[in-house]
Symmetry: C2
């Protein structure tokens, strides 16, 4: 594959190499280079019904700030996902704000007057038709067939296929990756399902369940104390190290696919848990609106696609995330945690 200057730059910590290489180093493609070579049919278009466009107030320089959120597909978290569409279509989110920014944790937005004795106004009444979800909905049955191989045997055989086709490094290294990627401190197994990261483990009785995991940029549903499960009126996204202890304790509904920087760079709140205090009301970034993309005029609808987690390119990309052999690296890790294999999402190329 042609190593362009841009591709080489993409592997450096400094803008340009400081010294010439005097010994042979690994010279394999980086994960991003692998993704760039994916064929068009390995990308899956995201339905406009699954995209939200969140418009924040312009920044201090008057620049617009748009955030696009991809909602999870069926059958995951669908009650909350439906609620979010209902709230968006009722215009309920218009005029709410970002009320909490806690470093290495979350940005959270919703009605600043919700359940707040220091509120300056009454809480916004919620629209009709919101579903009340159960705590059992935080997980889904394991019978949903994950299309990314789960067991070591399945993974080995998928990788063996790839090696035969000439795309992958040798088996012993791959075996090591596979065995170490299976579980982590939080889940007996981790896996990709339909383009999303999941943990799996024991459910009630002798069942097995899967649940979405709190990787950077994932979007979840704020709630009060159990048994409250939240409606979708209060949302948050992860802006630090994946807080996996929240998995299975709160609903995840989607991820930020564009404009994350508009949230992650917000000033941190000085109050407990990163809430803006009553002296910091000016810091609360106003949210002008959240719209379901399919409700926008066609010309304004963002068009995004994700790299299929069932594709050969995704498997090669995941392996490269686990074993960096591009020139900057010296010691491939031999494994990667699921949140260190972000699913590539991009704007769809023009037709």
């Amino acid at each position: 594959m042609i190593r362009t200057l841009t591709a080489i730059l993409a592997t450096l910590t400094l803008p340009y190499p400081a010294v010439a290489q005097d010994a042979p180093r690994p010279n394999q493609p980086s994960p991003n280079q692998i993704v760039a070579e994916a064929s068009a049919d390995e990308w899956v278009a995201i339905p406009a019904e699954d995209l939200l466009v969140m418009t924040l107030a312009p920044d201090r320089d008057g620049e617009p700030r748009k955030v696009v959120i991809q909602l999870m597909p069926e059958p995951f978290s669908q009650g909350w996902v439906a609620n979010i569409r209902t709230l968006a279509r009722a215009g309920w989110y218009d005029g709410i704000s970002v009320n909490r920014v806690q470093d290495n944790y979350v940005v959270q937005w919703g009605d600043p007057n919700y359940d707040n004795p220091e509120a300056e106004g009454a809480a916004k009444s919620l629209p009709e038709g919101l579903r009340v979800m159960e705590e059992s909905d935080y997980v889904a049955p394991f019978e949903i067939q994950p299309l990314y191989p789960v067991t070591a045997t399945q993974r080995m055989s998928a990788v063996a296929d790839l090696i035969e086709r000439g795309g992958m490094p040798d088996l012993p290294q791959v075996r090591q990756i596979i065995e170490r990627q299976q579980g982590d401190s939080y889940a007996v197994e981790t896996m990709m399902i339909k383009g999303w990261p999941f943990g799996a483990g024991a459910g009630e009785g002798s069942s097995e369940v899967v649940w979405p995991v709190h990787c950077y940029g994932m979007v979840g549903v704020g709630r009060g104390m159990s048994p409250d499960t939240g409606s979708g009126a209060e949302l948050y996204t992860v802006i630090g190290h994946a807080p996996r202890h929240l998995d299975r304790n709160i609903a995840l509904v989607g991820r930020i696919v564009s404009g994350m920087e508009h949230l992650s760079s917000l000033p941190r709140g000085s109050g407990a848990l990163g809430f803006y205090t009553s002296e910091e009301t000016d810091e609360r970034t106003p949210i002008r609106s959240i719209r379901v993309a399919s409700d926008l005029p066609a010309a304004e609808q963002p068009r995004f696609e994700y790299l299929s987690t069932e594709s050969e390119t995704f498997a090669r990309y995941a392996e490269a995330r686990a074993n960096r052999r591009d020139p900057f690296f010296i010691v491939p890790a031999g494994g990667a945690d699921i949140c260190n294999i972000p699913v590539p999402v991009r704007t769809s190329p023009a037709d």
Copy 2:
């Protein structure tokens, strides 16, 4: 222990509980509550020689921005640590800038004219006396006795002691934690040594080695392509999900202990890898100075301490991070990755 309103607030995602609890829920202390109850002798004062005070230019509102960095202790990364003190004492860092902010990755600072064809000036010459480090220095021999128990047997016995003293939950749950915390996708073992997070695994030949890990807020040494190992003139900190694939590939020298928000909230660069482009030179936050704290007048020296990772409170805190039983939570995770057990650091209480 007394549950103050502040303590209860610390466990909520929303400012106040939305609904009353109608079934008994776990009501154990949160990790932060456990730390708050530590005895004074469980906190270890950080020597002023190990603290750096980095002063950024004031923000747009004229507010000062100070960042404090704790350097790693002997015997870890000491060549780079010594270089950083040399550079700070030579005033070399005065007038450099933050040149790169890449979302979910790093903030990086150094000489914007270093090895940059678009530079507006000549690169700053480095002071005399900087050590040239080897790639073998990225790891340390395992003979350094970790004081936090490493093997499952050692951990079980430490925990058994705690249970006898009445501080911990039942053994089967603890066993599960211990067995799952031992390794992860990146290291055969993970452990705390002298207040820092490490991975451990095979080194050259049949040796075993330990290496610091890239948790959120850790500070590392920018370098060019191997065999360059960096001097310490170029530094970075992690502002997203722990990029553990960098472990063993680059030197880690410390962590941000105060003022992280001044770095993590910076605007992201638009160039490749989050570098600010030539059109964005105004975005580069100037660094006024970096000083070794022991060189400052006594009244200006920051005083920090960390919770000993050999202490009973730390063990209870780590267990609570792995199994949240404070009221907000429903399902304790049963384990935690090492970067999800941040070592508590605080300003020292006034004498």
